[in-house]
């Protein structure tokens, strides 16, 4: 049976620092994915991830037991990445207003695929590339939603954004992804045989 994050945290706080390595191993890949989708640069993403783990270690005595370690850690990581983005002049915290969009679809019906084509590796890697290319504003929230299967409430807790903003960004992110994959299909990168 795998030891829970909570048990690992208790061990770390009791002085068993090595247990922190286990916690890092458990969360580094998902953390790296979130950092990459926000910062779009491998080196910087790894630095941000390292920074977030070190901050988490120092803040562990103040860990709020009411939330899971992953939610708590992603909040630290999200903030580290957001700070780096704002240093670049990209403000991820800006609030967007506007509707969720009620327009029609961008993907022409003739570009859509027969069901069996969706199972292909080509389609999978096309979607992966497009989700990685989403602007940080949407990429961060879509990543939390898709990768971690997080609820609106958890995303609100991590990002500190109002619920309405989270809903709008997630909707727009999903639509952007749909449109960009649709365009790829239309441009013949993945032909229907």
């Amino acid at each position: 049976m795998q030891i829970t994050d909570v048990t690992l945290i208790q061990r770390i706080l009791a002085g068993e620092k090595k247990a922190f390595a286990e916690l890092v191993d458990r969360h580094k890949d998902r953390g790296m994915t979130l950092a990459m989708r926000m910062l779009k640069n491998r080196e910087e993403a790894e630095e941000a991830l390292q920074d977030a783990f070190i901050r988490a270690f120092s803040a562990l005595p103040r860990f709020e037991w009411k939330s899971s370690f992953s939610t708590w850690f992603y909040r630290i990581l999200y903030n580290v990445c957001a700070t780096r983005l704002s240093r670049r002049g990209e403000d991820i915290h800006m609030h967007l207003d506007g509707s969720e969009g009620e327009g029609g679809f961008d993907v022409p019906a003739e570009d859509l695929l027969p069901d069996e084509k969706y199972e292909s590796d080509e389609f999978q890697s096309m979607v992966t590339r497009e989700i990685e290319a989403l602007p940080a504003l949407y990429g961060s929230i879509c990543t939390l939603f898709f990768m971690q299967d997080m609820s609106y409430d958890q995303i609100v807790e991590i990002t500190g954004l109002p619920l309405g903003t989270v809903k709008v960004r997630l909707f727009r992110g999903r639509m952007l992804l749909r449109q960009s994959v649709g365009r790829r299909l239309g441009s013949g990168k993945l032909k229907v045989v």
């Binding site: 620092k17 922190f20 390595a21 890092v24 191993d25 580094k28 890949d29 998902r30 790296m32 994915t33 950092a35 990459m36 491998r42 993403a45 790894e46 991830l49 390292q50 783990f53 070190i54 270690f57 120092s58 969720e100 969009g101 009620e102 327009g103 029609g104 679809f105 993907v107 019906a109 859509l112 695929l113 069901d115 969706y118 389609f123 999978q124 979607v127 992966t128 989700i131 990685e132 879509c142 898709f146 990768m147 299967d149 909707f171 999903r174 639509m175 992804l177 749909r178 994959v181 649709g182």
Partner: protein, 184 residues
């Protein structure tokens, strides 16, 4: 015929259609192959998005994080030096006493029986061990007990040594450690 909006399509994918709308949406899907195809596309797209491979940091990542954390765990050489200052000073004192005894003996000529040096060393080591062990409760007993057949001059050296050590240990325990704790 009005096709589904983007929002309605995502509601179908998420299974979060509102009760009032559900029937209308499902009836439309039943009769519209185009919207069915769109919903299928969205479903597959989102399934692929969920199973997108994770990015991995470099292989030595965990070791690097632990390396950055380690300095917070190990005391510095400076702290070690100050923690052991009393021991260092006590050893210096012992060596001074030994050196003093050796030079004193040379001036007096050859001695018979236990020399001043061996007496001083034996008594000192016994005292030091006891003092470190018993301090501060049994300080007086430790000073008194093994003092029996010593010459007056040797006694003076011993007493001086013991008092110095007691002062050093007291300074070490009561002052230096507190200063270090405050500086942290």
């Amino acid at each position: 015929m009005n096709h589904l909006t983007e929002n309605e399509m995502l509601q179908v994918v998420d299974g979060s259609m509102l009760n009032g709308e559900k029937t209308r949406i499902l009836v439309h899907l039943e009769s519209c192959p185009r919207c069915r195809k769109e919903v299928e596309f969205s479903r597959n797209l989102e399934r692929a998005a969920r199973s997108a491979p994770l990015s991995k940091p470099s292989r030595e990542f965990t070791a690097r994080v632990m390396g950055r954390i380690a300095p917070q765990l190990k005391p510095s050489i400076g702290t070690w030096f100050i923690n052991n200052l009393a021991n260092i000073l006590a050893m210096t004192l012992v060596l001074t006493v030994v050196w003093y005894a050796v030079t004193l003996k040379k001036a007096d000529g050859p001695a018979t029986g236990p020399t001043v040096v061996s007496n001083a060393l034996a008594v000192y080591s016994e005292y030091y061990a006891k003092v470190r062990e018993l301090f501060p409760a049994d300080r007086i007993r430790a000073v008194q007990s093994p003092m029996t057949d010593q010459s007056a001059e040797t006694n003076k050296i011993i007493l001086f040594t013991v008092i110095s050590i007691l002062i050093l240990v007291a300074v070490d325990r009561l002052v230096l450690r507190r200063v270090i704790r405050l500086r942290r």
